[in-house]
């Protein structure tokens, strides 16, 4: 019998948006890391759990609803911890929730204490602390099947007596015992079993002053009295670790594993990315056909567009978690009305270029992010991630970061966003913050189109030199990140990285279900956070690049050579717009970098997403947006450009300067949104933007001036 038949999950319609507000009972899962707690949670809730928004904390708590016999209960997966003396932000949340100290969230009605049957003594330390809280507690003795096959014998009834709580042997992997667990939880909920005083804390004060020593002594006594384990033989984990944790072999093994993961990310992601690209082009084309050429009766047009805009706002607010109040409501209505009053052609451009293009530009990175999280989850589940942190520890300490920062930094080479989310594994807040702040300097895949353009611009005749441009850009990004981390550690975030203490759990076969759950969870967060911000920003940038419009003149007059009337019109319109004017306005600032006002327009419009610079340059140099895909035409056109004095714009100096700028500049608002989310304030997102922009400016300035001095 499967657990879903017993603990029937309720249908989606019965859900409340917040676990904290649901009138169902709250059941909290608590346990050490590596006890299979999340596997148990995923098995109990199916794949329909969600990240709950608890007010006042930045830590994600996953929760899901489970139907018990006497009603539904909301299960919350509290972050794993070794002790209620919490160190990391996640652990502090667990301790706070259990103490009932989280604002708006009462203490859980029942605590399910997840203990690993194969490491019971170690797990009993947290158990003693949790039992001291005197909350109704049910002990789930997980990985019982593994303990059985290792010939570990545990006297359940004696253990239950020692812990003064019901103890249910379960296996989250096979589903064994989960029906009993659900029943006992239900009984504790409905009967409110009396809580008996424990005697294990007899030594918490006055003995030696070390409460941990007393708890470990108690754990040893309970374990010795109730657990019989055979002398272990054939130490598989030991044998694997003898290879994987060796100083040089270990690092080599780790880099090979990551190389394979990255190869898979880039090769597997290309297919869905092409599909996303085509899908959004198709949606754009369909929208183009749907919008009538001739204006409809004004009332009908206004009504339809207003209605559709309001639907979009409702969806956007729901996704971003914005509540409807007077201010947000007025803003939505005003903006929807403004959109409805647009001329048909402007509306067409807004919808296709602004909205559909903007959203498509973000969704295209979703496959990479999902695949990355899939592999990270598998590696974590298998127990390997702890070894990765272990072998990288010494190398990372040189720049003042912990070994655990290495996996986020590698992930950032696909996209900074999953890297920032993966930085949660770093327990110490300062170390985590430094890592988050430097991650966007690493070369992400959105920079590749820009590098491709610049490499072709600089060395169109020499593929090997063009390849060196890529190598140089990657090296510059990595060096800048490590250097910035070192600087931050010496200045505003002082302190050396917290030295390593990490459990190296037994290797095991990773769970596919956990990986899929992680992908759904992280993917949703990405679309919600990045998607809504990028939608807003791409609309704002559309406005800046479209208005004010050219006065009605005959655009055909500008036609010259192979530049068509339409392309020339787009070029002039952009030059006349706010963006074009801003490009001219900032010309004095960017002139020392070798940028002319047209490059400035590219820099400004790619503020939200750096890859946009390629299509902007295509428009601003008058070859039309479509030509941006045709690298040869674009590069040829760019190479032909001259300054007022007749010298070419794109000299080697300008090219290198532009490259240095795009390696180092922030130029990605979705990343900023995620930085804000993970650090809990806009302060750090703004800091990230400012220091990276300053660094990009200085680097481009030095590059251009020294290249010019060298006569390049």
């Amino acid at each position: 019998m499967t657990v879903t038949e017993i603990c029937q999950e309720s249908d989606a319609s019965a859900r409340s948006p917040r676990a904290a507000n649901s009138d169902g009972a709250m059941v909290a899962l608590v346990g050490n890391p590596n006890t299979g707690k999340t596997t148990l949670f995923n098995k109990l809730t199916g794949l329909r759990a969600r990240t709950a928004n608890f007010p006042g904390i930045t830590v994600d708590l996953r929760s899901g609803r489970v139907q018990l016999e006497s009603g539904f209960a909301e299960i919350v997966d509290l972050p794993g911890l070794y002790s209620l003396e919490a160190v990391s932000p996640e652990e502090k949340v667990t301790a706070k929730v259990l103490a009932g100290g989280l604002e708006g969230t009462p203490a859980p009605d029942v605590v399910v204490l997840v203990l690993d049957a194969t490491h019971l003594e170690r797990n009993l330390v947290l158990a003693s602390e949790v039992l001291d809280l005197q909350l109704p507690t049910v002990v789930a003795l997980n990985q019982f099947d593994a303990a059985r096959s290792a010939d570990i014998k545990i006297d359940i009834s004696k253990l239950s007596a020692a812990l003064n709580s019901p103890v249910v042997p379960v296996s989250a992997r096979t589903g064994e015992g989960l029906d009993t667990l659900c029943r006992i939880v239900d009984e504790s909920l409905s009967e409110k079993l009396p809580i008996l005083n424990q005697d294990h804390q007899s030594c918490t004060a006055g003995c030696t002053g070390c409460t941990f020593a007393a708890r470990f002594d108690w754990a040893e006594r309970v374990s010795d009295a109730n657990v019989q384990a055979p002398p272990t033989h054939g130490r598989r984990t030991d044998a694997i670790d003898r290879v994987l944790t060796r100083p040089f072999v270990g690092v080599a093994a780790f880099l090979s594993i990551m190389l394979v993961v990255f190869y898979l990310i880039f090769s597997l992601a290309s297919i869905p990315m092409d599909m996303v690209d085509e899908a959004f082009s198709a949606i754009g084309a369909a929208a183009d056909r749907l919008i009538p050429e001739a204006p409809l009766p004004a009332g009908l047009w206004f009504g339809t567009v207003f209605f559709l805009s309001m639907i979009l706002f409702t969806a956007g607010y729901a996704a971003a978690g914005i509540s409807w109040n007077r201010r947000s409501g007025v803003m939505a209505i005003a903006l929807a009305a403004a959109v409805s009053l647009l001329p048909v052609e402007d509306f067409r451009s807004l919808l296709i270029d602004g909205v559909i293009g903007g959203v498509g530009g973000v969704v295209i990175f979703l496959p990479q992010i999902c695949i990355l999280f899939f592999f990270i989850s598998l590696l974590e589940d298998s127990g390997y991630m702890a070894r990765a942190a272990f072998v990288m520890e010494r190398l990372m300490q040189f720049v003042g970061l912990p070994g655990k920062a290495f996996v986020p930094m590698l992930s950032a080479h696909a996209c900074a966003i999953p890297g920032i989310m993966a930085a949660r594994v770093i327990e110490n807040w300062r170390d985590r913050l430094v890592t988050i702040l430097v991650l966007p300097l690493l070369t992400c895949s959105a920079r590749l189109p820009v590098y491709t353009m610049i490499a072709a611009l600089l060395f169109s005749d020499s593929p090997s030199s063009a390849a060196m441009v890529f190598v140089g850009a990657y090296v510059l990004g990595i060096s800048a990140a490590l250097f910035s981390a070192w600087c931050l550690k010496k200045t505003i975030l002082q302190g050396s990285a917290v030295p390593l203490v990490i459990e190296l759990p037994a290797y095991r076969v990773p769970s596919l279900r956990n990986a899929v759950a992680a992908v759904i969870d992280r993917g949703t967060v990405f679309v919600r956070q990045a998607g809504t911000v990028i939608l807003m920003i791409s609309v704002i940038l559309w406005v800046l690049a479209t208005y004010p419009k050219l006065p009605d003149v005959d655009t055909g007059a500008a036609t010259s050579g192979e530049v068509t009337a339409e392309q020339a019109g787009a070029q002039e319109a952009l030059a006349y717009s706010f963006a074009g004017r801003a490009g001219r306005l900032v010309e004095p600032i960017f002139r020392p970098l070798g940028f002319d006002w047209k490059i400035n327009v590219g820099v400004l419009t790619s503020f939200a997403a750096r890859e946009v610079v390629v299509s902007t340059l295509a428009i601003v140099y008058g070859i039309g947006e479509e030509s941006a895909d045709d690298e040869a035409t674009l590069v040829e056109t760019l190479q032909r450009q001259t300054r007022p004095d007749g010298s070419p714009v794109f000299t080697k100096a300008t090219g290198f300067s532009l490259l240095a700028f795009f390696v180092l500049a922030m130029q990605c608002l979705p990343t900023q949104a995620v930085t804000k989310r993970e650090t809990g304030s806009w302060k750090w997102a703004v800091f990230q933007l400012v220091y990276m922009s300053a660094m990009a400016y200085v680097a481009a300035l030095v590059t251009f001036q020294s290249c010019t001095a060298l006569g390049l």
């Binding site: 160190v87 490491h119 303990a147 020593a213 033989h233 054939g234 984990t237 203490v501 459990e503």
Partner: protein, 94 residues
């Protein structure tokens, strides 16, 4: 019996006497079982080193190992067996 720091100890099993220092690093050590009265087995020396503590393998940097005070004499081998094997360490558990 004299005391040494764990960073100076070779392979073998030692009884932990106390942890020097205070604050977060000490809590991080203690909650993992690197705490007065426990037996610590050095499985692999180096920086970071690998210990076996209360049935689990712990990676520990030398910097922190320097704050762990242990008895300089190794614990009797028979005691080690019973201490180290009190729990399955995961090899045949899966």
């Amino acid at each position: 019996m004299s005391h040494i720091t764990l960073s100076h100890a070779g392979p073998g099993t030692f009884r932990c006497v106390e942890i020097t220092g205070q604050g977060e690093p000490v809590v991080r050590l203690k909650r993992m079982g690197i705490c007065g009265g426990r037996h610590l087995t050095i499985v692999q020396s180096g920086d970071p080193m690998i210990l076996r503590v209360v049935g689990a393998r712990i990676g520990l940097s030398r910097e922190l190992a320097a704050s762990v005070i242990v008895d300089s004499d190794r614990v009797n081998a028979d005691d080690v067996m019973s201490a180290a094997n009190a729990q399955c360490d995961g090899d045949d558990c899966d």
